[in-house]
């Protein structure tokens, strides 16, 4: 594998090098290369079945890569061999329905070591969850659960890579604004965000962004 010279290039950020991902016997992503640096926002576009969810899950490490390399290197200035933290919000919310929102976040924070009591309260406040943070998740609406799932993002490190799959499904206008704000803040602090979304988040965000297009033999777009 071409690890020597490419590792020289991969000194920071998210790198995808000739990545092919199979689903069963069919290549869903074929020979895809791209790069996302710290402080950048990437939007993944593509029709139904183009492989957006597959790509995000592969970067999160849930799906193995058939060939090629995905590397998520730590920010320059940190340990050379370190990986960047990855936070993933997929189609499911990652919440247990028998615990409250606050308990879910506390449990996640204890599991991963990211975040503490204070950060949890701040996250809940920013995403507008304070009213229902102590109710059992099974009694909450879709949008409320989504807010809790997104609140998790704020617990992670500043230089984390956020992988968002359709983050704004079920969100009302306030929540959409909050989401846009935290994404901008995260990028401003030097983090990375890669989001797959049908809806146009761009209008809400004034930031520069890359567009990754899936579905055909896609290469780096600017």
């Amino acid at each position: 594998m071409a690890s020597d010279d490419t590792s020289m290039r991969m000194h920071s950020g998210l790198w995808l090098d000739a990545v092919t991902i199979m689903r069963g016997i069919r290549p869903v992503i074929h020979d895809f290369s791209n790069h996302l640096d710290y402080g950048q926002l990437g939007l993944v576009h593509g029709g139904n079945g183009a492989g957006k969810t597959t790509l995000l899950r592969a970067i999160a490490g849930r799906i193995p890569v058939a060939s090629g390399i995905i590397r998520c290197a730590a920010a320059a200035g940190r340990t050379a061999s370190g990986d960047a933290a990855r936070l993933y919000v997929g189609h499911q919310d990652g919440l247990s329905s028998l615990m409250s929102g606050r308990e879910n976040l506390q449990s996640w924070a204890a599991m991963t070591g990211y975040g503490d009591k204070q950060k949890i309260e701040v996250a809940l406040a920013v995403l507008g969850c304070m009213d229902f943070a102590d109710s059992m998740v099974r009694s909450l609406s879709r949008g409320q659960r989504r807010r809790l799932a997104l609140a998790r993002l704020m617990l992670g490190p500043e230089t984390a890579l956020w992988l968002l799959d359709e983050p704004n499904v079920g969100l009302d206008d306030d929540a959409n604004d909050a989401l846009a704000r935290i994404i901008c803040a995260h990028i401003g602090n030097g983090g990375m965000v890669l989001a797959a979304t049908h809806l146009d988040l761009v209008a809400k965000l004034g930031t520069k962004r890359q567009i990754w297009t899936l579905g055909q033999k896609a290469h780096k777009d600017a």
């Binding site: 079945g49 799906i63 940190r78 370190g82 997929g90 189609h91 028998l98 615990m99 991963t112 359709e166």
Partner: protein
């Protein structure tokens, strides 16, 4: 190992909120045992030699029945995704362990929480069952110790079965089919360890039981981690 404790705490919390499941399992245990006198007749002469095997079979079936969809909730909620993403230590930037080890620890934590929810109540109910089946009570000590070890083995086997059958169509029945052949040694050594010739509790049979539990403890985490490591979570779009 904070994530290990966190997972156990999480499972016990959820288990407590679902505590009627423990009651269901115990009722199942008692009903199975009650079926035997109904089938064989109430005579103590018939029941007494059968008491230990009956309790063992009932325990085996009750424990394994509780594994149906053990991981299903976590997969459906997306929790499995969350815990299998490699965590990076915030201070040093180094990942303390990879996704595989994280999943392995998750499996062991699940096993431990499940044993507390299932095995312990079962053990506590056993003396009562022994009385119902006219078992000579001096054997109770050996039975309890053997069941304690055997229930650990069965719990670990259940973890393996549940992980392998996760996502299959007829999950529960399929899991039983997979696990029961492998549960045969647990049953054989367990029953023998429960009926020592002399009033000694630690017998070679018990030691074999213990060895089996150790082997399963070594086998279950990697198998469960491998079985759970790749999955689809919801549809793509």
């Amino acid at each position: 190992m904070h994530n290990f404790h966190a997972q156990i705490k999480r499972d016990l919390t959820i288990g407590w909120r679902n505590r009627q499941d423990v009651a269901v399992m115990l009722i199942f245990f008692v009903i199975i045992i009650a079926l035997f006198p109904l089938a064989f007749g109430p005579s103590a002469a018939i029941l007494e030699p059968l008491a230990v095997p009956i309790i063992w079979i009932a325990a085996l079936l009750s424990i394994l029945a509780g594994f149906d969809g053990l991981f299903a909730d976590d997969v459906r909620d997306g929790w499995l995704d969350q815990i299998s993403i490699p965590v990076v230590d915030v201070v040093s930037g180094e990942p303390p362990m990879g996704s595989f080890y994280q999943l392995g620890l998750y499996a062991v934590a699940k096993a431990m929480a499940h044993w507390v929810k299932t095995g312990v109540p079962l053990l506590l109910t056993t003396p009562l069952m022994a009385i119902m089946l006219h078992m000579p009570l001096h054997q109770l000590g050996a039975l309890m110790v053997a069941l304690a070890v055997g229930s650990c083995s069965l719990t670990l086997l259940g973890i393996i079965g549940a992980a392998l059958a996760q996502g299959a169509r007829r999950g529960g029945g399929l899991m039983a089919l997979l696990v029961l052949p492998l549960a045969v040694p647990v049953l054989i050594f367990g029953v023998m360890a429960s009926q020592p010739d002399m009033s000694v509790i630690v017998t070679p049979h018990l030691m074999l039981s213990g060895a089996l539990a150790m082997l399963l403890l070594a086998l279950a985490p990697p198998v469960a981690a491998m079985a759970l490591s790749e999955s689809d979570g919801g549809s793509g779009s």
